[in-house]
Symmetry: C2
Amino acid sequence: MSSLPETAAVEAASARIAAHLREQILSGQLRPGDRIRQEEVGERLGASRLPVREALRILEAEGLTEHEARKGARVPRLSQHEVEVTYQMRERLEPLALVESLDQLTAADLHHLEEVQRRIEANDDVDRFLELDREFHLLTYTGCTLDPLMSMVTRMWNSTQHYRRAFVQLSGPGRRWVVNAEHRLILDAVERRDPVDSERYLAGHIRRTRIELGKHPEVFDGWTP
Amino acid sequence: MSSLPETAAVEAASARIAAHLREQILSGQLRPGDRIRQEEVGERLGASRLPVREALRILEAEGLTEHEARKGARVPRLSQHEVEVTYQMRERLEPLALVESLDQLTAADLHHLEEVQRRIEANDDVDRFLELDREFHLLTYTGCTLDPLMSMVTRMWNSTQHYRRAFVQLSGPGRRWVVNAEHRLILDAVERRDPVDSERYLAGHIRRTRIELGKHPEVFDGWTP
DNA sequence: TTGCACACGATTGGATCCAAAATCCAGACT
DNA sequence: AGTCTGGATTTTGGATCCAATCGTGTGCAA
């Protein structure tokens, strides 16, 4: 039965490479402005340059890389204004996704949500918080299966991930209780399947984050290339 | 100076192919559900399959094609619900782009806008209306140079283009005067650089279109494959 | 010493060839 | 007669090789 040991992972090589790079970017190992050389990643992952090119296109569609003809791929660098506008877009789009999701969420989903929120409150590591916070919000949208909407939501989370990390790192856990209070109100509104309160508290949560982020312009200029 | 006649069009082949396919999809020659065979387009445009693959990835990022592993590329087919949610997204995002654009619009831009609106009012061809209407709205956003926002706006226009055409075709010019009234109010608000009215009339314009579109479910089921 | 030009290395873009998977059609069996 | 299975064809995925272009460093001249 083990005659074809590698056939288990028949997933396209381009998808695997894309997943690897996605992980590297979201985890912060690849930072905005970093260049991505096709040959290098191809060599490190045991593939030729061709699937790497495909992977870079896939990531470009997800907002994780940008591509300039004959200059190669980079992790996009956003200005403070661009990040703030992206947050404004999130304020307007994510409540839509949440409302679409509300009635489709199962009891298991709600259980999972509470568990994640508990872990957020028990945790004090920065990188772990980032992961859990992302998981919390995206979980609330799992009931929304509309691809046009969900792909944009994912894009917005992806492209601002690095700046969110930088912000969380330097703001520290001081005002973490605000996040928890907001999450709890969102969670309660979701459990009551209340679209009005869900939208209100979610939009407020994102808006407050945007405003606090606006007070930290140092997140955007100090780059060490 | 004409020693290199083809060097003028040094644009990457993948970009040329993407432009060609984009035109075919937006003009309606390629319709939702249509499959796109790599070899076929490569042959017709005098290129190998490789740049075609790149082009398909580019278009995927623009929301014009979708790609399934080992199954190839298709023009995405949206459900009525997906189109309606896309319109709700437009209601929320495009006012943001318009407000960002407002203060950057030049006198020449405004002149151009009025000219386009005049042509819309003088025109009675369906396909021409589609082009001009798209030009009108995108023109109002030219002052907004924020890539994260503008690429999403373009995506939304792209992915719903076919359904907009079908809707305009069967609804006829009967209520075209409503569109013109709305455009005039938007135009006036833009010329006054009034963000509140700009947002209000634009959101209303998109919302009314969405609701009228909702009355025509026949746009979404009757496909002839 | 500074500025420009040329050439070389590094890197991406494209073409051809080969492998693997999916689709389609025919034939046989229930 | 309908359905399932098998192979043949079509189509996509990947590797290697070649061409074009960009960045850079060095050398020469003002």
